[in-house]
């Protein structure tokens, strides 16, 4: 864990130009910038795959449908 933290700290703080080419630093940055579980809370919702499937399930299970229409692609954070 300590080694990982050091790696992340390096990934954040040391300009590449000032270093030798360092693959582990690139790998650390890829890992550090990946979305965290907290940033993916939205994935904790059990989304229906499409509207027709949602409407069918609503009828069968007697639940209302929550429909959100939006521009872009919310699942990618491009919206």
């Amino acid at each position: 864990m300590f080694r990982l933290s050091v790696c992340f700290a390096l990934a954040c703080t040391t300009p590449l130009a000032a270093q030798e080419f360092d693959v582990s630093r690139i790998d650390a940055r890829v890992a550090l910038w990946r979305p965290t579980a907290e940033e993916r809370r939205f994935d904790d919702i059990g989304w229906a795959p499409d509207l027709c499937t949602a409407l069918k399930a609503a009828k069968t299970h007697k639940r209302p449908v929550f429909l959100f229409t939006h521009d872009g692609h919310m699942q990618f954070g491009r919206c």
Binding site: C12, T13, P15, L16, A17, F21, V23, I26, D27, R29, V30, L32, W33, R34, P35, E38, E39, R40, R41, F42, D43, D44, I45, G46, W47, A48, P49, D50, L51, C52, T53, A54, L55, A57, A58, K59, H61, K62, R63, P64, V65, F66, L67, F68, T69, H70, D71, G72, H73, M74, Q75, F76, G77, R78, C79
Partner: protein
């Protein structure tokens, strides 16, 4: 809305226990969009029913629909992103329709997923983040999500999935005999298709509007052992990217660094990783990290 109400614990609990949640992208419902006719018909019907009932309706909206399929409530996103507005709306619907409390009917799974591809395609996962300077270092913005005030641009990262076919992937590799020290420039058309996604969270996500002004991505073989070559990647990008959907002169400027592991004999890419260095958009710091991902 994803950063605020749709990341709120109470909202998530209400949706999973009492509702069938579904979201639709308006892009899929344009003339060229991928939505099938039945989906279009139902979406339009719910929209019309809401309008006819003189309720708020629009393209970026929450609609509530009875178990029987009739629209009965709605809210504009400018309200629905607020936790204190959406929770009472959902609670009122629960009171009105008294649905059986239960578990989520559809599994909660990652919504940003590895795309289905032909075998041997190169799949790249891109993450773009807003950064902030702390003690001279650039670190990711970490916003506490799930609150009304969480709803800011860049409060969580953006993602893209870029796919190069097996044939396209070969264009990333050198045509000369591979040995340590070999240098070449990666195919500009192909890398351009990746680099147009190098921008932070903005309202405009139409990459066809992005204008690459300068780009270069060079490779240099630094090792070649056991049939696997590793090339260091370096380059830069300057690209006009509008924040909204009209020209604003905003540009992305960044240096690029990464590496490419490949098998010269089979022309197969094993790993590609590429990150930005000192990237700015409209002079503000952000960062992009790209990594090849194996098929699940």
């Amino acid at each position: 809305m994803r950063a605020s109400s749709l990341s709120n614990g109470k909202v998530i609990e209400l949706l999973n226990r009492y509702f069938i949640p579904v979201y639709l992208s308006n892009e899929d419902f344009t003339k060229e969009g991928s939505a099938p006719p039945e989906e279009r018909k139902e979406r339009q019907r719910i929209y019309r029913e809401t309008l006819d009932a003189k309720r708020s309706a629009g393209s970026v909206h929450v609609y509530l629909v009875t178990p029987g399929g009739n629209a009965f409530d709605s809210m504009h996103v400018a309200e629905a992103y607020k936790v204190e507005k959406l929770v009472p709306m959902l609670e009122a619907a629960v009171k009105q329709h008294n649905p059986t409390m239960g578990r989520s009917l559809f599994p909660a799974t990652a919504q940003s997923r590895h795309p289905k591809t032909a075998s041997a395609a190169l799949v790249l996962h891109l993450v773009a983040r807003n950064l902030v300077k702390v003690d001279g270092a650039r670190v990711p913005v970490r916003t506490k999500l799930g609150e009304t005030r969480s709803a800011n641009w860049g409060s969580y990262p953006s993602e893209d999935w870029i796919v190069f076919s097996k044939e396209e992937t070969k264009k990333l590799l050198p045509s000369e005999r591979v040995e340590k020290g070999l240098t070449w420039e990666l195919d500009a058309d192909l890398t351009g298709r990746l680099l147009v996604h190098f921008y932070p969270t903005t309202e405009n996500n139409d990459v066809s509007k992005n204008k690459i002004q300068k780009q270069q991505l060079k490779a240099a073989v630094i090792s070649f052992e056991n049939g696997v070559a590793r090339a260091k990647l370096t380059g830069h990008l300057t690209m006009e990217h509008w924040f909204y959907h009209k020209a604003d002169g905003n540009t992305v400027d960044t240096r690029l660094v990464g590496y490419l592991d490949f098998e010269p004999a089979s022309l197969r890419v094993r790993t590609l990783r590429l990150i930005t260095e000192d990237a700015t958009y409209n002079r503000r710091p952000f960062g992009v990290a790209v990594s090849s991902v194996e098929s699940p």
